[in-house]
Symmetry: C2
Subunit: 439 residues, 2 copies
């Protein structure tokens, strides 16, 4: 405990642990042993430890919470914002969470219980209940005095929320306007009554789109009666965007969003196997399509080496389309009703690309295998499969989105099933028709 005392008395030490160092220290903790974490808890005062806790990864937060007794945890919570507390409570056992909530003050208990009710990927789950809310009838000078008073207890942001007497939001005021407005004016004179808001159930990705579109620094969360429940600040939106970006890439690649670089071998196996099983089913579908043409292949073995070129190119062309559609759905730039227009354009694009790729492939094949008709079959099958891939590439993600399923998760598997099964079918059927010319 000596080093503890030393540190406490060392003013420059406390000064050095500013917000930036807190982040660095917090992120290092995931590598700490149990003993080191215990020492950290003992050598840091409540406010500092709360700051560290807020910035650490979830796994680390749980480890720290386990070390501390309830009294200390509640003291730490008093320095933390409610949304961070709720995130932590959501990860400990239900019993522990209940125990801690019951020890809280009545007011806090009510807010925490309300926040715990929201899914953590919607506006209610990411909003904070600490923000500056002022009455519209305040004079500017009184508003400034109030702001100075509230500021130490909350994040200062450049948007102040202006409410009427019944606490309903009537608009927003910019801090810059407050600072330069005449002192005796009323706050309502600089209040902008045209504002964007979300409801607590709004999906976090939609919230981030609004913040990005309108360059907002904070967005209010209102209930059906337009009463303010909280706000979502842009720095939380940045975290949401990082999270959604990661999720999208992992989903498209068929990996689970829960898998991290630190997942154990057992976790990785468990998270990956289900997706491989789903893919195995589609692989068998394609395989059975080929099997039904076994007698054709037996007569022209060359087909076995050529057919995967046609299906592969269909998959590639379809993936190009799917990725554009998925992203535009996520950005709300495309929806089901656009299908007709998109399909028309897509058909032409893939007709041209199919004919180009098909002509080149057909030419090479007819030279390699010294058979003109084999080239013609490849040419026709390539056009057909690229058109199929274009149609599926548009319709699959749009239909999934319409059915409220995530197009990023399952579009590719439906697409490759279609381009594999139909690609093999078209190519081998054509081969069957031209069989006399191939033997």
């Amino acid at each position: 405990m000596d080093s503890n005392e030393n540190r406490k008395n060392d003013a420059s030490y406390a000064e050095e642990l500013d917000e930036l160092s807190t982040v660095d220290l917090a992120l290092e903790l995931s590598d700490y042993e149990e003993e080191e974490l215990k020492e950290l808890c003992e050598t840091h005062e409540d406010e500092e430890l709360a700051g560290i806790l807020e910035q650490s990864e979830l796994k680390t937060q749980i480890r720290i919470i386990k070390i501390l007794d309830n009294k200390r945890i509640l003291r730490l919570f008093s320095y933390m914002s409610k949304d961070d507390i709720v995130d932590i409570l959501g990860e400990v056992t239900a019993g522990k969470a209940k125990e801690l909530i019951n020890l809280m003050k009545e007011g806090d208990k009510k807010i925490i219980n309300q926040l715990m009710g929201y899914r953590d990927d919607c506006a209610g789950g990411i909003m904070t209940t600490e923000y500056i809310k002022l009455d519209s009838s305040l004079l500017i000078k009184d508003a400034i005095a109030k702001i100075k008073e509230i500021v130490p207890k909350t994040e200062l942001i450049d948007t102040i929320f202006v409410v009427n007497r019944s606490k309903k939001l009537i608009g927003t005021a910019k801090l810059r306007d407050i600072l330069i407005a005449p002192e005796e004016d009323k706050l309502e004179s600089i209040t902008n009554e045209h504002y964007i808001y979300v409801e607590p159930e709004t999906d976090q990705e939609e919230v981030s789109l609004l913040v990005s579109k309108y360059d907002l620094t904070a967005i209010p969360v209102l209930n059906k009666n337009k009463a303010m429940l909280g706000i979502i600040t842009i720095d939380d939106i940045v975290d949401v965007m990082v999270e959604e970006h990661t999720e999208d890439i992992l989903k498209i690649g068929g990996a689970s969003k829960e898998e991290t670089i630190d997942s154990t071998i057992l976790e990785s196996i468990k998270l990956r196997l289900p997706w491989l099983f789903v893919n195995l089913i589609t692989a068998f579908l394609a395989s059975m399509t080929v099997k039904s043409f076994e007698s054709t292949i037996a007569q022209v073995v060359a087909l076995s080496s050529i057919m995967s070129i046609v299906t592969g190119m269909g998959g590639n062309a379809g993936t190009q389309t799917v990725s554009i559609i998925i992203r535009n759905i996520a950005m709300k730039k495309v929806e089901f009703k656009d299908a007709g227009y998109l399909l028309g354009k897509q058909l032409l694009v893939n007709l041209v690309n199919g004919a180009t790729i098909g002509a080149i492939t057909g030419l090479i094949i007819s030279v390699i295998y010294n058979n003109f008709y084999l080239g013609i079959i490849v040419f026709l099958a390539m056009i057909a499969n690229l058109i199929i891939s274009g149609i599926c590439g548009i319709l699959i993600p749009l239909v999934l989105a319409k059915a409220k399923l995530d197009p990023a998760l399952s579009s590719t598997i439906f697409l490759t099933t279609a381009t594999d099964v139909l690609g093999f079918f078209v190519f081998l059927s054509l081969a069957n028709v031209f069989l006399p010319y191939l033997i």
Copy 2:
């Protein structure tokens, strides 16, 4: 021009065109005809039109610029921030840009020319030169007076940059601390000298990682001598994140980041064909591998329908790995030196997954084709190909990143080339060895 006059005289109209309506109007403009755009330019005053211009899409900006004469453009520029002006100048013809820059005031000319020198996906290209920079020796009350004076001309953000006499950045001060500090204190007393900064050449994705990691609202851009060149605000970072997210998804899907939902048919064809050609080469590589085993396949036609199951599952398992590695490289959580540790883990995961999927597939195949050895071959080939896919899934993106190439762009194509070519090779070689038992 009547409606123009009417509008100008209508106070409530001007009031209504606030920041939010400006965004909505600006985004609608992409659907405007030439005539409508002209009317818009005529009916809006400079400041309003500048606001609209700043928020519209690049294509629309160029169309508007073409309508206006140089004098009006320069008047609009006077209401816009330098980074937005540079974005626009980057899109018009070089001649037009030069013409406009030459008409600017000397001070502006210098800044614009300097900004034009940076790539638009690096810190210098997205930074703004309007921000609040105060001398550390100022008294708090004077700092507040200065802030009130500067605020109408700049974005107010909660971070004030504190410089010394030679204009070098020495730290940052939070507006909240300035508002509540004793009036007679010096600014330096609340300055935090521990700050994060970037250089103008820093990649925008790296900037967004720092802003997200440290919950910053603005990050200063410094040259080698620590002199301030500008700042990047969090709302610009949000735009960067949306852009990088789109790019990543399109790249992984083999689509070009330049293709949008509004691209013409010709643009789409031009942007997609090159990627299809690259894929065609790898498809031929796989095809030639199969061709070299034609005599084996001729004796056991069943191989032709089974082989794509093995290669397909290798591709799927590899894509899972690749997507996790790509994302962790982007987030700077993984680099080349971690390859050894990652490979060890991956080998075990894919050994187990390969054995599981292989056993199931082998069992089904041996029943369908009524041949035990065929099942054994599938089992062994599946394990081998999943291990290959694991090794490639780790090494390909890490090596690409090490070579300063974008792993999101080309990892999948190298991966599927490997899993296809090696998958066919392993499976058909095994079939060759077991040939007597298969006929």
